[in-house]
Structure formats: C-alpha cells, structure tokens
C-alpha cells in the first residue's frame, strides 16, 4: 500500500501503576483496511484502543495519524473525532439517565453560534438512525427514552448507530457483537463490509475468530501486551489461526512452570 497509513503506533507502551498493559507495540492501519485485533482477556486490546483514541495517554512511544505526529499531552477523544476516528468502546459509553437523542450527539452537538443545541434537528436525525440503521422496532422506545430502559443489545445498537452516523475514516469496534442476537451480529458484520466498500478503515476486536477471519484483511494478535502476530488474513486459514492462538497458551503454560 503506497498511501500513508491512517494510524501508526510506534513502540507504544502503557502502564497502569505497576501493571504493564502494552509493551512496545508497533502497528499500522492502512487506508481501506479492515484489521482484526485478537487476543486473550487482558491481552491489552482495549487499552490499545483507548491509547489510540485519546482516552488514555501512552506511557511511552508515539502515535502518528496520517503521517503527522500526535502530541500525546493534548490528544483527546475530541481530537480523535476531529481526525475522523470513531470508536465503539467495550465498556458502556452511554449516559444512563439521558435520552437517546442526547446520547447520539453528546460531545459534538448541533449548535448555533451561542452554543444552543438544535434539539429538533438532533431528534429528527436520531429518529432516523434508530429506524433505519439500528432497526429498532422495539415497542415503546423512542428518542426520548433514557438509556437505562434499554436492553444490553439495544444499548450496543445505539453505540454502533452513533458510530455509523458520524462517518469516519477509521472506525474502531471493541467487541461490538457481545450482547447481540444472531441477526444483529450479521448486521454488524454487514456494517464492517460496508466500511470496506466505502473505502474506509476499521479495527475490529472480537473473540469469535470465525467472524474476524471472515471479514478482515489483516490479523493482529496481542499477547500479554505485545504484538505476537501481524499477517494478512489470506495467508492463514481459520484452523491455522486457531492453532496459533492455542500455541500461545501452551507456550505460556510451559513458561509458567
């Protein structure tokens, strides 16, 4: 790929107190590339995403976005949004007591020069997202419903719908299918395919390696905070990938003894 990568992490490390979550991670996400990020629980996948999207500051290393070095001290979620990076986080990113329409637009509301929110427009768009993108047919749910009254899957739907609406160059999905019924999982996979078709990029974190293998161009395996594998998806069959992941376990078990 000749064009510059959307994101490039160079020797990024992240420590929480004494816990080392990321160690020397170097990783590139090219344009129009779907990258699957796999690894055990606690491997550091979510931490990587948080560093990449400005939620957490890296302890070491640097981040480049479209070839431009990011100043870690001033990098924030807002900055990531401005750089057209959109994220569906694993932990809830919705305000429980707030209505759906606010949850769609919070952080970047549609306002006039005084900062007053255009509630009517926001509600109209939220309504549209709900009906077309997420496919809420749920009884009694409308844009004024607070998130606390939604099911786990519906919440996930809202977070994904939000990411879909703010079309970005890079969309990060951290275990988006966890709470979803089979049919909704297919919707998410279709969404990822549409990202590819639309010429945009995606990082897809998922424990179901079947899904990952199906939609991704590249596979990256994290193991205890380090990149253990980084290959094109086509170079590895589904069983080879499964075997590799199992081999990580056995290597760890023997080293533990």
């Amino acid at each position: 790929m000749t064009s510059t990568a959307i994101v490039r992490l160079e020797n990024v490390g992240k420590q929480y107190g004494k816990v080392v979550s990321l160690r020397n991670v170097t990783l590139e996400i090219g344009s129009n590339e779907i990258v699957g990020l796999i690894g055990d629980n606690g491997a550091g996948k979510s931490t990587l995403i948080k560093v990449l999207t400005g939620v957490e500051q890296p302890t070491s290393g640097s981040i480049y976005i479209r070839g431009k070095k990011i100043d870690a001290a001033s990098y924030s979620v807002k900055e990531a949004h401005n750089l057209r990076i959109e994220t569906v986080y694993q932990d809830s990113s919705l305000g429980e007591k707030q209505p759906l329409w606010r949850n769609f637009f919070v952080g970047r509301p549609i306002t006039n020069w005084l900062g007053l929110i255009d509630v009517k427009t926001e509600k109209r768009i939220a309504e549209h997202i709900m009906r077309t993108t997420i496919g809420f047919r749920g009884a009694g749910i409308d844009v004024d419903t607070p998130v606390s009254r939604l099911s786990g899957g519906e919440r996930q739907g809202v977070a994904i719908g939000r990411a879909m609406h703010f079309e970005s160059d890079l969309i990060v999905l951290d275990e988006p299918t966890v709470a979803l019924a089979l049919k909704e999982v297919q919707r998410v996979l279709d969404f990822i395919r549409s990202i590819k078709a639309g010429g945009r990029s995606c990082i897809y974190i998922e424990h179901n390696i079947h899904h990952v293998h199906e939609v991704c161009d590249r596979l990256v395996v994290l193991d205890r905070g380090e990149v253990a594998l980084d290959v094109p998806a086509s170079s590895l069959s589904y069983t080879e990938l499964a075997d590799f992941l199992m081999s990580l376990h056995s290597a760890r078990d023997t080293s533990a003894h």
């Binding site: 979620v77 305000g95 707030q98 005084l114 007053l116 509630v119």
Partner: protein, 344 residues
Amino acid sequence: MAEAAHTPGRTARTRTLSDIFKIEGVAIALVFILLVVIFMITAPRAFMGYRVYMSFMATVPPPMVIALGLTLVAVAGEIDLSFPSVVAFASYVFCILYIDYDMTWLALLAATAVGTAMGFINGLVVTKLGIPSLIATLGMLFLWGGLVTVVSNGASLAIPDIQGTLFHTIFAGRLGVFPVQILWALLTAVLIWIVLNRHRFGESLLFIGDSKAVARVVGIATEREKVKLFTLMGAMSAFAGVLLTLETTTYFANAGMGYLLIVVAAVFIGGTSIFGGSGKVVGTVFGSLIVAIIEAGLVASGVQGFWTRFFIGLVFIVSVTLNAAIEDPDKVPLLKQLRSRAKK
C-alpha cells in the same frame, strides 16, 4: 409509533392528566400551593393578606439565585458549600466600594468579578487537587470566610443611603408594593433553564453527573467544564450577595451563613437528583419558595421559632427520599427491603 403507544383502554382524561404531571414543575407547584392553603388555614391573619407574599418576594431572590447555580453543580454530581462566604465577600466588596468611592454599577461588577475569581479557584481546588467537592468547598467556606473577616476587620458596614438611587431601584426597588428583585431571580431561572436543557454546557454537565467515565469517552473535557461550573457558581453567589446587600443595606461577615441549609434544601426538594445526571430548574424555583414559606408559615402559625429548622430538615429528608424513590425505588434501601419482603 406514538399512536401505538396509547392503548385503547386508556381514556383521554387520564392521558391528559398524566401529561400535565409530566410538565416540569407541576407536581412541586402543587405541593407549594398545598402549603399555602394549609398556612391560610393555620395562620389566616398573615397568609390571607398580600403583605407576607410581598415580603417573600423580597427575601427569596438571593437564596433562589444561589440555588439555581447549585442546581447546575448538583447536576454534575458535585456540591459547593462555599457560597455563604462568597456571598459575604461580594457583599463586603460592594459596600466598601460604595462607601469609599460612591460606586454602584462598578461595585456590582467588581463584586461579581471577585466572586467569579473565588469560584474559579474553587474549581481548580476540586479538579487539580482531586479533593471531593464536598470536602474541598467546605474547606473553602472557612478559608474565604476567614479571609473576608480579616479583610473587613470583623466590622459590619451599613449603606442606608443607597436606597433611592437609580441602581437600588433597578435591583431592589418596588413596583408599587412589588419587589423587583424577584424578576431578576426569575430571569436567572430562565437563563439557567436554557443553559441546562438547551446549551451544550448543560449537556456536558448532565453527562459528567451521569458518569465521569462516559463523559470522557464521548469527548467532554470534564476538568475544564467543572472549572467553568464552579466559576459560574461563584459569579451567581456574588450576584446573590449584592441582591442581599441591597435589600438589607448592610454587610456583616456571617451574612450568607443562614443560606447554607435552605439553599441546599431548596435544590434537592426541587427534585434535582442527589446522584447527579439530572436537574430540575423549575423545581429549584419552587423549592426555594417552599423552604421560605415553611419558615414563615410555621412562625405565623404559632410554632416556636426553633422548630422551623427541625421542620425544614424533616421536609428535606422526606422529599429527597421521595425523589430518589421516584427515580429508582431500589436506590432507597428501606423500600428495597420492604419490597423484597412483600414478594415472599
């Protein structure tokens, strides 16, 4: 979708009734009216005349303005207890500038600026030192209170001759028998309602109060918004301090102390969530009125003065519990236990 939600079993009458109760403030307005009616019966001589209401409208505005600011603070899941000292400081600055330099408009500006600066510092203490705001602002209550006592040498000031100036007429004069300061308080209420419900700053506060982690992840600069919040609270407390000074035409160091209980009570009686994430501006307006009417009504009904605090405390606890139960019954452990026992 809306049509489907209304099952044919529900009559049009119950629908309009529940719709009326959904309008912000209707329930608490009824509580207020009920109190007025009760006091009209128990203390007819005071409450059947207009005078007691006029006196409310003169005394309620300062605590109401503070309570409106505190509503925003509570929405963000924080609290500010330093306002009595900010009130005193602003009152002192206003008085001294009026006495020494004959300033009125500039004195208002200076007093508000001082309060704004104090609020800004409160905000920095809360965010940069990471002390929970309850403790931080309690400390600042003493710190600012001590400072104003030192600066004023512990003396009181009186500015009786400000009465009759144009400035006094605009902020604390009478339209006939009607005190104009209530209009300033209501104007503040309208502005704060817009800020909370229609402005992006209010939306940030709602999400910060809901969950700080979520607020960060959706791209809200939580620290900066909180500093802004405490700064605004300081400015509003100072404005309230000037309103109070104009009504009483005096400064004394303990001027704001009497507001500590009633302002906090007004906010939470009004239905703003003690857990953060939701606030009722109209509720705060009526909460301020309710607290004031309880104080006056009990005394007028012949209850000994000492009892008023007891009753305000009681009403405070009961209404906060009720509001929490309306929000989520499981948040009240007693109700939760009763409910689980009832199921057995």
